[in-house]
Every structure is written in C-alpha cells, then in structure tokens.
C-alpha cells in the first residue's frame, strides 16, 4: 500500500467525519425516508406533480397558434348576405308592393266580379243573354254617337288618359322592381 492510498478503516473514518455517506447508502436512505414520510408530504409531492402537469397544459395552450381564415372568406360571406338581402324586399319596397297590389285588387276585383256574374247569368238565362247583347249593342251605339260630338268626346278622352296614367306608372314600377330583383339574384349567383 503506497502512502497515497488510504487505509480502508481510515477511509470509513473520514466519511463519518465528513458526515458523508456512500452513494448506494444514500439512495437507500432516501428511499427509506420517502416510505417513512408522513402522508402530508406525499400529498405535497403529488400536488407538485399535478401543478407541473397543469402548467404544461397551460403553456401548450397559451402558445397555440391562431388559424387564419381562408382567402376571400369575408367577400364570400358578404356576397351571400347581399344575395339574401336582395331576395327579400326592404320595408319601403314591401310597402310599395303591398299598396300597389291592393290598388290593383280594388280595381280588378269589382270589374272581374261584375263580368263573371254577368257571364254566369248570361249562360244560365237565355232571355237575359239576349237582353245583355242588346244592351251592350245599344251602349256601343250610344257611345259612338256621343263620341261624334267633340264636347263629349274630348273630356272622355282626357278622363281616360288620367285614369290610365296611375295604372301605367304602377305597372312600370312593378316591372322595374321584379326585373331588378331577378338581375340582382343572377349577378350574386355569378359572384
């Protein structure tokens, strides 16, 4: 044994003196301490492990990337919304349509109703049919006579123009509205 090598007894003594423990002994001692540790300490360790896991989840989620919307998404949604908006008229347009149709109904229903009533009566009753034809012929004849006089024909012509104007305007408006609606629908479908 050279001078530099320690005596085994001296080595153990030095260890004891330094309060040092051999590595395998230390591992055994720590394992023993864990087993002997009170429940609170074990719970603490579990809690620490749990906290670490939660922190890992938090870190993962907090650093998660944001997914961008596809290109042209906003324009596509807007086109759909516009299409839907054009399919249904606005409040003012709706009011116009309702008023126009009501006016047309007020004019059409009495006229059509009278024509229908007279036509039914004429089909059922032969004498009435003859009378009606005679009356219509007389009326046409009377109108023709009246129209020959300018004092009567001129005001009648004016009245006819005045009566026709609103109907023409209403028909024009309805045509323009429905035509525009159809065109808008077609263009948004293309878009």
């Amino acid at each position: 044994m050279s001078r530099l090598e320690q005596d085994p007894m001296r080595k153990d003594f030095n260890h004891l003196e330094d309060e040092a423990v051999h590595e395998p002994d230390e591992t055994r001692m720590q394992a023993g301490q864990r087993l002997a540790a009170p429940a609170e300490s074990t719970q603490e360790n579990t809690q620490q492990a749990s906290d670490a896991s939660f922190q890992q989840v938090d870190q993962l989620l907090k650093t998660a990337p944001t997914v961008a919307s596809p290109r042209g998404f906003a324009d596509r949604v807007l086109a759909l919304i516009k299409k839907q908006a054009q399919m249904y008229p606005t409040y003012s347009e709706g009011t116009g349509i309702v008023l126009g149709l009501t006016a047309a109904a007020f004019v059409t229903i009495p006229i059509l109703g009278t024509i229908l009533f007279l036509a039914t009566q004429a089909i059922v009753n032969q004498s009435l049919r003859v009378t009606l034809i005679r009356e219509i012929s007389n009326a046409i004849e009377t109108v023709a006579v009246w129209l020959q006089s300018p004092t009567i024909s001129l005001p009648i012509a004016l009245l006819m123009v005045v009566a026709i104007l609103p109907f023409t305007a209403l028909s024009g408006y309805l045509f323009w509205f429905f035509n525009g609606l159809a065109k808008a629908g077609a263009s948004s479908e293309q878009a």
């Binding site: 749990s50 896991s53 939660f54 890992q56 989840v57 938090d58 870190q59 993962l60 989620l61 907090k62 650093t63 998660a64 990337p65 944001t66 997914v67 961008a68 919307s69 596809p70 290109r71 998404f73 906003a74 324009d75 596509r76 949604v77 807007l78 759909l80 919304i81 516009k82 839907q84 908006a85 606005t90």
Partner: protein
Amino acid sequence: MILPEMLVEQENALLENTLRGDVEAFGDLIRLYERPIFNLCYRMLGDGAEAEDAAQEAFIRAYSNLASYDRGRSFKTWLFSIASNHCIDRLRKRRLTLLSIDEPLPPHPALVSDQPDPEQQMLEEERSALIQKLLNQLAPDYRVAVVLRYWYDLSYQEMSEMLETTESAVKSRLFRARQALVELLEDSEAQMILQPLLAS
C-alpha cells in the same frame, strides 16, 4: 377582454351603418372578426371546411339578428356566443357519426406562422395538430371553455354570458377540461411530440 377605444368607436359606427341598411359596413365588421371567429370554429370543429361553413353561418345569423342585438353588450362577445353555440350544435349533431380520434389531423394550410424557418414552421404545425387532437377528445362544453379562455382570454363572466351558464359552472368546466388534457398529455405518444415543442 378589453377592446381599444378606437376599435370600439369604429365598431359602433359600422354597426350603426349596418342597421341603416349599409351591407358594406357589415362587410367591414366581417373583415374585423373573420380571423378570431374562424379560429374559434376551427378549434371547435377540427376541420377547415366545416369551420368555414360554421363561421359563415355565424356571420349570417349575426346579420339577420342584428336588430335584436343588445347594444349594452360587447359585439365581439355576442358574435362569439353565436359562433360557439353554433359549433356546439354542430358537434352534438355530429355525435352519431363515428370518427376516428386516433387519426392525426392534417395541419391546416392557412396556419399562421411568423417564422420563415421551415423547421420552426414544422414544429408549429406539429403543435397545432397535437392541440387539435387533444381538443377533439374533449366534450363540446369543455372544448368551448378551453378555446374561449386560452385563445381569447375571455373572463369567466363573459364566458358565462356567452354560454348562458353560471361563472362557477364555467370554472368547473375549465378545471375538468384541463384535468382531462393533463391525463391525455400523460400519454407517452403525446409526450414524445410535446417535449421538443416545449423545449423549442
């Protein structure tokens, strides 16, 4: 979730104009919120095409119901509640369809990455796929809580308003969701992907 004052003013002006019938103003609102709404739908549904449909539907519903929107509430919160509830409905309808949760989702092409480095980009994509895989395994109510809390930093109060529930229910859902995520992350496969991501 506090919006800058300028943004609030801009938002209010756009809302006013939309209510007056200016559809283009609503278009600007869509542009303002398209990204967060799309991300919410994508994180909830886990599929790009379905997320686009859902986000589109959310905006259309918002436009149709704009007259009933309470101006006292935040528009963003209102919009988020429409989108999240719509996504929850979709997930509930989807329940009958059998889906394999083991198949990893392909990364979305529109994934945001500020890093031009391809390696970094790959890591980001892996992270996104892992998160999506984990989210897909959560119940819809838990999933929405996680997405709203972590991506949008919403308060418990805002979340409870949006999800029409109590604050304590939101806290409880969030806690259970995190607990479930912890358990899922303990899976060795997830850990293998996660460790390099967290280290990077």
